[in-house]
């Protein structure tokens, strides 16, 4: 494991600027998640570190060594792809042994066997080693894909949405396992995802990418509580943060054009708040409900306790409780 340092890296594909001036250091043993929508440049960042793409400018250092011009094989990184991860013509064992059998590595066959079995146990696929890769379920395939990377001890594991093709239940299970394995091995991981839950639960730091730029990087809590702009604020939180004109509510600081109100910033009551709102729809999720409100013609979504018994058509009042403020261009304004 080692420290990976990305320094002012830019990359364009034709006229599309995929990444602009990305600087990021992933510490030894750290789990960093890059969070962003499709096309934000997350995958490009991974491919640049892996050496599958060459940056237009900037440099990449792994363990202090400049690897910007090196071939992928010489960088000592492991990559878990979102899909197409297994070789269909090989067995599970052969798939996992593939990296160790690389001509440059010359690992003795006995050591390969031991290592593959050890990782297979870790991932609970030790009974599937003789199966063809095509005979596995989706969850097993993805475990093998992760196993292919884990048999090595690279400088860094690069993971490109490794769980996104799985169903919700499996995703939840593998999320926990992946985090446990990372802690056990002390692995350095750069993990790309558009799923805020994965980023929030696994990462020690989250980098939010938007349009090829790193908007903000920090601990999940920091990113959630202290977003530097409306983009970052909208990335985290379920339901999504409500962005409303500051004029609707009183008490906004100077320069604030928009108020960002998450569920916890809104207090709903039957009367006596700052602003009145109409309940348009209630979605019952079981332990809680999504409340769709209309505030002066603007939609607001918030959570409510099902016990409160709000129904469509009810008129309620809203009170803001230390919300976030943003200026006209979306940047944060101190309260």
């Amino acid at each position: 494991m080692a420290e990976v340092e990305i320094n002012a890296v830019s990359k364009a594909f034709g006229k599309t600027q995929a990444l602009s001036d990305l600087s990021l250091t992933i510490g030894d043993g750290e789990f960093v998640a890059l969070l962003g929508p499709t096309g934000a440049g997350k995958t490009t960042a991974l491919r640049l570190i892996a050496g599958l793409e060459q940056p237009d400018s900037g440099s990449i250092r792994i363990d202090g060594r400049d690897v910007t011009g090196d071939a992928p094989a010489d960088r000592d990184v492991a990559f878990v792809f979102q899909q197409y991860s297994l070789y269909p013509h090989l067995t599970v064992f052969e798939n996992m042994a593939f990296a160790l059998r690389a001509p440059t590595r010359r690992v003795p066959e006995a050591d390969i066997r031991v290592k593959v079995q050890e990782v297979a146990r870790l991932l609970h696929i030790e009974t599937k080693l003789d199966n063809k890769a095509t005979q596995l379920s989706g969850g097993q395939m993805q475990r093998v894909a992760i196993g292919r990377a884990l048999v090595r001890s690279p400088s860094i594991y690069l993971m490109d949405e490794p769980l996104s093709s799985l169903d919700a239940k499996l995703r939840g299970e593998l999320r926990l396992e992946l985090k446990r394995i990372q802690v056990d091995l002390g692995a350095t991981i750069l993990y790309v995802t558009h799923d805020q839950t994965e980023a929030m639960t696994m990462a020690s730091r989250i980098g939010v990418l938007e349009g090829g730029r790193l908007m903000q990087i920090g601990s999940p809590r920091e990113i959630y509580e202290n977003p530097i702009n409306a983009h970052v604020a909208a990335r985290l939180g379920q339901p999504t943060i409500n962005l409303l004109p500051a004029a609707l509510f009183g008490g906004a600081p100077a320069g604030a054009e928009t108020i960002g109100a998450r569920t916890e910033h809104l207090t709903i009551a039957r009367g006596g708040g700052d602003v009145s709102a109409t309940v348009k729809r209630v979605e019952h999720l079981g332990d809680q409900s999504h409340l769709h409100l209309d505030v002066a013609g603007r939609p607001v979504v918030t959570l409510a306790d099902p016990e409160t018994g709000f129904g469509a058509g009810d008129v309620v009042s809203l009170r803001l409780n230390k919300p976030l403020f943003f200026d006209a261009r979306g940047w944060r304004v101190a309260a």
Partner: protein, 317 residues
């Protein structure tokens, strides 16, 4: 690509429809098989039975056609034949019954071997070159890629025989006339365009993530190509090889024009097998029957690869 799934209509076809469709297929198969059966039967007829009218369906089988295919014979006086010792083998006794003796082997075997060397040689070369260039076109940014691909395809747009005379003159000048190497190069150049186009389609289907994963795992691009791309392209390679082989094996026009002795292939040789008093039809039929064997064997050997969609089910799209 071959795959296990085919399009099904929503409504199951009725028994009558299925029977009708089945009998159409059988009828078609019978019609296409008739000439083959005819050739194979003729191969076992005597020269008289072969040209009798109306044609004989029931006849006394004879190996005379095969004997005449593999030997040359000379006519002798009955006295001379009687003065010889006992006949040497089946063909000798058949020849003597017609007042002839076996003079030596015919040219069929050398021509057949020429065919094997030239057809398989050009197939291996065309498929190897085709696979490499298809991979290049599929994976790399090649300047003028579309124009190059069109140019490669355009070599197929004219009938090859249109360039027969320039090639004949060229080959005579550089000494490739009537050589196996010359024929291998010629058939390769015709087949390589087909191979590039067919294989590019197959390689495009193989996700490049496979090679990228291998390259990150410590393999060079060429090693990744051999370890990851080739095994998954076997279906396409097998199909391409069969197409190339069939063309090279059956090619007649260039073979007539460019080969006469050393490098002559079987197709121009078989139809000119002359017996006493004209074409020796049983020998021609026997030569044709044996000529079919390699293609059938090759196709049966590769059938497994042709039918198997190797990536089916392993990739999640």
């Amino acid at each position: 690509m071959t795959s296990a799934t085919t399009a099904h209509s929503v409504v199951e076809p009725s028994i009558t429809t299925r029977r009708f469709a089945g009998s159409l297929v059988v009828l078609y198969a019978v019609i296409t098989m008739i000439p083959l059966v005819w050739i194979m039967l003729t191969a076992f007829k005597s020269p008289d039975d072969a040209i009798s009218y109306p044609p004989k369906v029931m006849f006394k089988p004879s190996l005379e056609g095969f004997c005449n295919l593999f030997t040359t014979r000379s006519r002798q006086t009955p006295e001379f034949i009687r003065s010889l010792g006992p006949p040497q083998g089946l063909c000798d006794s058949i020849a003597r019954s017609r007042n002839m003796v076996v003079a030596g082997p015919s040219n069929y075997v050398p021509r057949f071997i020429n065919s094997l060397i030239i057809a398989f040689g050009s197939t291996v070369l065309a498929v190897a070159l085709g696979t490499l260039s298809a991979y290049g076109f599929s994976r790399f940014r090649v300047p003028l890629k579309d124009d190059l691909l069109f140019f490669i395809l355009s070599t197929r747009m004219m009938p090859p025989i249109a360039v027969a005379i320039p090639i004949y003159l060229m080959y005579r000048t550089i000494g490739l006339s009537d050589t196996r190497l010359g024929m291998i190069l010629l058939y390769t150049s015709v087949n390589v365009s087909l191979a590039v186009w067919l294989l590019k389609g197959f390689i495009d289907e193989i996700p490049r993530e496979y090679e990228e994963a291998a390259m990150i795992d410590g393999y060079t691009r060429f090693q990744a190509f051999v370890k990851v791309v080739l095994p998954q392209a076997t279906t396409g390679i097998a199909a391409t090889a069969i197409f190339c082989l069939i063309f090279a094996w059956n090619e007649y026009a260039f073979a007539v024009l460019l080969t006469s002795g050393n490098a002559q292939t079987a197709p121009p040789f078989i139809p000119i097998i002359i017996g006493e008093g004209g074409q020796d039809w049983p020998a021609v039929a026997a030569g044709t029957t044996l000529f079919l064997v390699p293609i059938v064997v090759f196709t049966v050997l590769l059938r497994k690869h042709l039918l198997r969609g190797i990536t089916f089910g392993a990739v999640r799209k």
